[in-house]
């Protein structure tokens, strides 16, 4: 088979099209960054300058709590149970089974509780915010709101974002409590330990520095879920397929950002 001679004209054209493609991608990337910055500046400006929609905020708090509490209860109890069952054999080998309640409590309160609660809420709340707002965009409800002299940022986005930022820490504390209860159940599979004594052992090793950063971290997790869910929904396209895209993108983006925020939070906590 004769060796194929590269055509210089084709090679130049391919290189040119590749360069223009990269340029286009770069341009789109920077446009997206600019859009996000503009969105955040509008949201925070409205948050501090316009009247706060308190009724809508309460409604969103109820929806976030009510929609997630069941799922968080089940997940929390399983996480506590599994963590205890998995850790116990290793601790028994070292004769350190007495530190099990404290160890599980610290890992749940510092990391497992906030991260698992946030990831569940990203799936449950983030997707619902993305889908709801994008469907309102598609069916012109957001336009109708504007015509009715209502600022959609103020009425739709700020209450959802603030409600998520307030409710996720509360749900995290609840998940922590349920997780510790699950851990007690796990301990009682092999041993017999009263709940009162288990809790006393668990909290003996806990300090303020374990709980406070976790709550602050959950607040940022909530803010990320609210802001991303609303951004994806509010800026969705006009077609019906945009609803699915917005919901999916809200979950993926917020989950990724949660992990990044967690990484940053861990580094900061480590310095304290």
């Amino acid at each position: 088979m004769p060796k194929q001679i590269p055509n210089p004209e084709v090679a130049v054209k391919e290189e040119a099209s590749l360069t223009s493609l990269v340029k286009e991608k770069m341009k789109m990337f920077f446009i997206k960054i600019a859009n996000v910055i503009e969105y955040l500046s509008i949201v925070f400006r409205n948050l501090f300058t316009n009247k706060f929609e308190f009724q809508e905020f309460l409604k969103q708090c109820y929806q976030i709590g009510n929609n997630s509490v069941g799922l968080i209860s089940i997940t929390g109890i399983i996480v506590g149970l599994v963590l205890t069952i998995q850790s116990r054999p290793s601790l028994v080998n070292f004769g350190a089974v007495s530190i099990l309640p404290g160890m599980v409590a610290i890992s749940i309160i510092r990391e497992m509780g906030p991260v698992i609660t946030a990831l569940i809420c990203a799936g449950k709340i983030g997707s619902s915010m993305g889908a709801e707002l994008s469907s309102m965009r598609v069916t012109e409800q957001i336009d109708a709101m504007e015509v009715s002299n209502t600022n959609p940022i103020n009425f739709l986005i700020i209450p959802r974002f603030v409600a998520a930022a307030v409710m996720i820490p509360l749900l995290t504390l609840y998940a922590d409590a349920i997780g510790i209860f699950g851990s007690w159940l796990g301990v009682n599979i092999k041993d017999t330990l009263s709940l009162k004594l288990f809790i006393a052992e668990a909290f003996k090793n806990l300090e303020f520095i374990d709980i406070f950063p976790a709550v602050i971290k959950s607040f940022f997790f909530g803010a990320v879920i609210g802001l991303v869910g609303c951004y994806k929904g509010y800026n969705a396209g006009r077609g019906t397929e945009s609803v699915g895209i917005a919901a999916n993108s809200a979950v993926v983006t917020s989950s990724l950002l949660l992990i990044i925020v967690d990484l940053i939070a861990v580094q900061i906590t480590d310095l304290l």
Partner: protein
């Protein structure tokens, strides 16, 4: 001339609007008189909905001027835009009822956001009256998901009427409805005008609706006003493009 100017409630001159390289409106000039039903006719994608969204400030036009009463919409302040929006009611293509609210809440929302404060009794009275006007007083506590397409349009109209606007913009009010319901909605547009003495712009390509409601017709083609005149002038027109609409 002064007298005819006093009759004009919306005046549009040389309006242009583009999305990227795509020019949608290319120098539209038209006006709307008091208590007049003006039909804007044109095929899908001709920029009819863009035109009325520019009027109410939902879209920012590129060049030209839109005057609503004494208010110029170009570079209007937020306070002035609120004043304009208090005068204009907008019936969206799909009615755009808020899914998470009942019919009562939909109407209350529009009323309390656009008008001054009212007592609960006053609000209830005004909502009931608006629903009576569209013939759906029993739907007050229903959710939008429980309503048919025609009922949604009626409730959308009630939400528009509850604030007693001087001008109503109808965006394809009969699209997606069966012929009987379309006819009912068309007559409701006329009844509304007769009762409330408001001026209306009706965006449509439904010729039966045009025949029922039109006092005057403006046809848009390629972003420009193609023809303006009465229903009789349009129906007797020999231009093939116009004839294709009225055949």
């Amino acid at each position: 001339m002064e007298e005819s100017n006093n009759k004009i409630v919306i005046s549009i001159e040389g309006l242009t609007k583009s999305f990227g390289d795509n020019t949608i409106l290319d120098g539209i000039t038209l006006h709307l008189n008091k208590e007049e039903n003006l039909v804007v006719l044109g095929k899908s994608g001709s920029g009819k909905s863009v035109l009325i969204k520019c009027i109410v400030g939902l879209l920012q036009h590129d060049t030209g001027s839109i005057k609503v009463g004494s208010h110029e919409i170009t570079d209007i302040s937020e306070e002035e835009l609120i004043k304009v929006r208090k005068k204009i009611g907008f019936l969206f293509q799909g009615a755009a009822l808020y899914d998470s609210m009942t019919v009562r809440e939909n109407l209350t929302f529009a009323l309390l956001r656009l008008k001054e404060k009212f007592t609960t009794d006053q609000v209830n009275e005004m909502i009931e009256e608006a629903l009576e006007n569209v013939g759906l007083p029993d739907s007050i506590d229903k959710m939008p998901s429980e309503l048919s397409g025609g009922m949604k349009k009626r409730i959308g109209l009630a939400r528009t009427l509850v604030v007693k606007p001087d001008i109503i913009l109808y965006d394809e009010p009969t699209t997606g409805l069966d012929p009987i319901t379309s006819d009912e909605i068309s007559h409701l547009i006329n009844d509304t005008r007769d009762k409330f003495k408001n001026a209306s712009i009706i965006i449509t390509h439904d010729i039966n609706c045009v025949k029922t409601v039109a006092d005057r017709i403006v046809m848009i083609k390629d972003g420009k006003v193609y023809k303006e005149g009465s229903l009789e002038e349009f129906t007797s027109e020999q231009d093939p493009y116009i004839k294709s609409f009225f055949k």
